[in-house]
């Protein structure tokens, strides 16, 4: 089938060379995972929304504004996602189409993605092995650069100071012409993190000041777009990031670990855009170094892909391609290389104005063998649509997979080269209802992850095995509305999620964890957001509730639920000639809640942040 459509694509490409339609008319704006992801939920943040969060990281964004539970080991410390009950390695993360999860660890530290570096972010829910690829079991995160053409020069300097020795500096410049666009960003985030906390490890639980938690992160991003011809576009982005962190010890320990992370990421796209089709050739490189104390771990990934997108004049759309990834790891205990080839094909059929169906397929070759075929399918059905309201039914199902990481296979001693990929299937259905300014969605999902890899001690050596099988089921509800009060305009959103993620197979038949909620996976989560604008003022309030979490797999011990609220006020009315001087004052954790996301990992109480920008 894939070959057949490739043949069609080549012929159609030949026939379209005569077309001379303008770029803007045909440019495919939404990424493929959105256009072919019928029945799947996607949450997005645009440039304006991210600009308000530019002093925060992906960890903050997901924990405050999505149902992803972020396992945070302290401010600026390791933060890993738990999405729909899955583990940290079950959320794929992409930047401009490049996979960012470490090939050796199989996961990412969300604290290492400052939001200033990106212009658009999307969160895709559920297993999408066919649409997205490796590791999209719980879902996936997509970070992108976006620089429009024909914009005048913009220069922004921003400085934020805050409690606990925080000092963030940003410098951003962008300029675009008719055919070229440039954007440069530099950021430096520093925090002493010397916040007070109640030390539960000491008699009398005295208040102490956090020590050894200093974080410095800085980086540089360069985005470039060149419209070579009306139908040809070249885009390239480069992102250098380094972080130098003192690793915050859990209460009761006084370890003095140091971690340095350094990453170079580069991607280039060449796009040929025709009236009904588009070619995208992508090449990218991700090079990462991590020093943990004196131990150096280094990985490199090179990626090359070719994709073709076609929208027929009828009701069909296709997207297909292949991707080659070459991976090299030089870890403290081993060196290894890996090669992966993927073929994928997405199809969409608009059966009627009300019904859209999609079928997506992916074949992965990992090692020397073809892994099981990964399918996914979905539909969006507008049950009814009237002037003021519409109701859409969504349904999708699909498989996901995760190739064992380099560490899983090659770590010495203990690596297990015979591991199978983790595999999952998921199904979700739900409704989207919109009436005037009120919107609500309700989603039910079920997710089954098998061959779940866990490391077990075998004598004094730990080794990974395909042991567990986990079923995760849940409900996600969200809503939003808008209203006016006098001259002020308000927007509000709210969400609630319920998740039950339990192993149905464990290390043995008598494994006490079977049937019990996975550790650090809250059953209940909720969020509320309120944003109001009045003249040059903007006020926003964000609240989150995180339910009780089990500390261990067999759940005899739990951590208390907590509620956090954050408030921000911005003023954009101050101008001096051509200079605009926007300001923001932010209070994080306004009720000074004493909480831990992870057992005995202290988190900061109330903090104040003031941001002043100069924009030219």
């Amino acid at each position: 089938m894939i070959l057949f459509i490739w043949v069609i694509s080549l012929f159609s490409q030949a026939s379209e060379k005569l077309d001379t339609l303008a770029l803007q008319e045909v440019q495919v704006s939404a990424p493929a995972f959105e256009r072919f992801g019928q029945g799947q939920k996607v949450l997005s943040w645009n440039t304006t929304q991210l600009a308000r969060l530019q002093n925060q990281t992906l960890s903050d964004l997901l924990s405050e504004q999505s149902p992803v539970f972020v396992r945070s080991y302290g401010p600026g410390m390791l933060a890993s996602p738990s999405f729909r009950g899955t583990s940290a390695g079950h959320t794929a993360i992409y930047w401009n189409g490049l996979p960012l999860n470490s090939p050796s660890l199989g996961q990412s530290d969300l604290s290492l993605f400052p939001l200033i570096a990106v212009d658009h972010a999307s969160l895709q829910f559920g297993s999408a092995g066919a649409l997205v690829g490796n590791e999209a079991i719980g879902g996936s995160v997509h970070l992108n650069s976006k620089i429009p053409f024909n914009l005048s020069s913009k220069l922004l300097f921003s400085q934020e100071i805050g409690s606990f020795g925080q000092s963030n500096t940003h410098l951003k410049w962008s300029r675009s012409w008719k055919k070229t666009a440039l954007q440069s960003k530099y950021y430096r985030h520093f925090a002493e993190n010397d916040y007070p906390f109640k030390d539960l490890s000491l008699p009398g639980t005295p208040e102490k000041t956090q020590e050894h938690a200093r974080v410095l992160q800085e980086g540089f991003v360069q985005d470039f777009s060149w419209r070579i011809k009306p139908d040809k576009l070249f885009k390239s982005s480069f992102w250098y990031n380094r972080a130098d962190r003192e690793i915050q010890a859990p209460m009761g320990s006084s370890t003095q670990d140091l971690q340095k992370d350094e990453s170079f990421r580069w991607v280039a796209d060449y796009e040929i855009i025709k009236s009904q089709s588009q070619w995208i050739l992508k090449s990218g490189l991700v090079s990462e170094k991590q020093f943990f104390n004196q131990s150096l771990n280094q990985t490199r990934q090179f990626l090359l892909s070719g994709e073709w997108d076609y929208a027929s004049k009828g009701n069909w759309s296709f997207h297909m391609g292949s991707r080659i990834s070459l991976i090299k790891g030089e870890l403290s205990t081993y060196s290894a290389t890996d090669q992966r080839i993927e073929f994928f094909q997405f199809s969409k059929y608009q059966a009627s104005e009300k019904l859209i169906l999609s079928l997506n397929l992916r074949q992965q070759v990992f090692g020397d063998t073809f892994q099981p075929f990964i399918p996914g399918a979905g539909l969006d059905w507008k049950i009814w649509k009237k002037e003021e309201q519409e109701l859409t039914f969504k349904f999708s199902g699909g498989k996901g997979f995760k190739v064992p990481t380099l560490n899983d296979r090659f770590w010495s001693p203990g690596g297990n080269p015979d591991l199978l990929p983790e595999k999952s299937w998921s199904a979700e259905s739900g409704f989207e209802w919109k009436k005037n300014k009120l919107g609500q969605t309700l989603t039910f999902y079920t997710l089954n992850v098998d061959n779940w890899i866990i490391w077990l001690p075998q004598g004094s050596i730990w080794t990974p095995q395909n042991i567990k099988q986990v079923i995760s089921k849940g409900i996600e509800y969200s809503g939003n509305t808008g209203f006016t009060l006098g001259q002020s305009i308000w927007e509000s959103n709210w969400s609630f999620s319920f998740n039950k993620a339990v192993p149905i197979r464990g290390t043995s038949k008598n494994d006490a964890s079977i049937g019990k909620q996975l550790p650090y996976t809250p059953i209940h989560q909720a969020a509320i957001g309120l944003k109001g604008t009045w003249k040059h003022w903007l006020l926003s309030l964000q609240g989150n509730y995180t339910g009780q979490r089990n500390i261990t797999a067999d759940s005899p011990k739990t951590m208390a639920a907590y509620k956090l609220f954050h408030l921000a006020a911005s003023f954009k009315g101050l101008k001096m000639g051509r200079l605009q001087i926007p300001m923001q004052f932010r209070v994080q954790n306004i009720f000074n809640t004493d909480y831990q996301a992870i057992y005995l990992r202290a988190m900061p109480g109330r903090s104040y942040h003031f941001n002043l920008s100069i924009q030219l």
């Binding site: 008699p203 859990p250 001693p413 004094s460 964890s513 797999a553 005899p556 005995l600």
Partner: protein, 350 residues
């Protein structure tokens, strides 16, 4: 009458003076944890969730997290050792602290919370605490600066002195004003004069010295080698080796339980790549020797209830969650199973 009052008051005064001169500390009322079995749960690395469980073997009642229940705060450390000396219970966390609790109810009496690196064990001598400590890791994860920390108060406080010893000191035992230290990495036993707070002698032994115990009026050392185990006794007048017994028991881990009739149970683990764990049975004072008395996997701690003739075997269950305890009779037959905390690593029979 007046005379009688004076005589009576003199007798009464004499009575009070006589009894006040006798050093007889008031008896501490026995608490719930002064009997039964304490289960040490080491906890998981990086999580600091070590704790103590209490089992009443008569009723089968198991109480979890008794430190947290008594003190309203978690233990917050990796529990390396549990020592009952000087009528206090000492909980040694290798994450860098020692908690001192009332042995009857586990309420906090004091602590050593600073000045330690990786404490392993403790003994009380001459009104002071002596804490064996690996010292900090160097760049190659070696421990060249191991020491015995001295705290001059049996209820905790600051570390007053660090006595340098050979690498990786483990168990200690007091004898008079002297302390024997098991120097596990360099095959040494160091003798410390507790009053002078210095090492006065070093005895060379074989294997990795692990545990001291008393039997037949002597102090013994259990030491493990790759393919054999060693039992040494000492002349305590001049601190020289008295007897040496070597048994062909391979892969012993250093964990030992003392059964009835001088029989000892040694935990063994073949480790990589076969992962076979087992229990060997041996007696220095008797004829028993069975290197393969019991086998399985995941064994992490061992203890013996002499009153009931039952062996307690702890399984860490891969640290994926809590561990389990299997109770065996003296023939190695399984009697029952119990839950435990994370990483059950040892037992104290009260």
């Amino acid at each position: 009458m007046k005379f009688n009052y004076i005589r009576f008051s003199k007798v009464l005064a004499l009575f009070f003076i006589l009894f006040s001169c006798v050093e007889n500390e008031p008896e501490r009322p026995l608490g719930e944890y002064d009997s039964g079995i304490l289960i040490m749960n080491e906890g998981s690395f990086g999580a600091n969730d070590g704790e103590v469980y209490h089992l009443n073997p008569t009723t089968g009642t198991l109480k979890s997290d008794i430190f947290e229940a008594a003190n309203g705060r978690p233990f917050a450390g990796l529990l390396e050792d549990l020592i009952y000396e000087n009528d206090n219970m000492y909980l040694v966390a290798n994450t860098g602290k020692v908690e001192v609790v009332n042995p009857g109810d586990f309420t906090s009496l004091g602590a050593v919370t600073s000045g330690l690196d990786q404490p392993r064990s403790l003994t009380v001598n001459s009104g002071k605490l002596f804490i064996s400590d690996y010292g900090p890791y160097d760049q190659n994860y070696g421990t060249p600066d191991s020491y015995i920390a001295v705290v001059r108060n049996t209820l905790g406080g600051n570390v007053a002195k660090k006595i340098s010893v050979s690498r990786k000191p483990e168990d200690m035992i007091s004898f008079g004003k002297y302390i024997l230290v098991a120097g596990s990495e360099e095959s040494k036993v160091e003798v410390i004069d507790a009053e002078k707070e210095e090492v006065i002698k070093t005895i060379e032994v074989g294997g990795n010295p692990s545990v001291f115990y008393e039997a037949a009026g002597k102090i013994w050392l259990y030491s493990t080698g790759l393919s054999e185990v060693y039992f040494y006794s000492f002349h305590l007048d001049n601190f020289t080796l008295a007897t040496t017994n070597i048994y062909p028991i391979a892969n012993a881990t250093g964990k030992i339980a003392f059964g009835n009739d001088d029989i000892m149970y040694l935990l063994t683990s073949s480790g990589w790549p076969d992962y076979n764990d087992g229990i060997a049975q041996v007696s220095v004072l008797g004829p028993e020797l069975n290197p393969n008395w019991y086998s399985g996997s995941g064994f992490y701690g061992i203890g013996f209830d002499k009153n009931r003739g039952e062996l307690y075997l702890a399984n860490s269950n891969g640290f994926q969650g809590n561990g389990t305890i299997t109770v065996l009779d003296e023939n190695g037959s399984e009697l029952r199973n119990l839950d435990s905390g994370r990483g059950p690593s040892g037992f104290m029979m009260r």
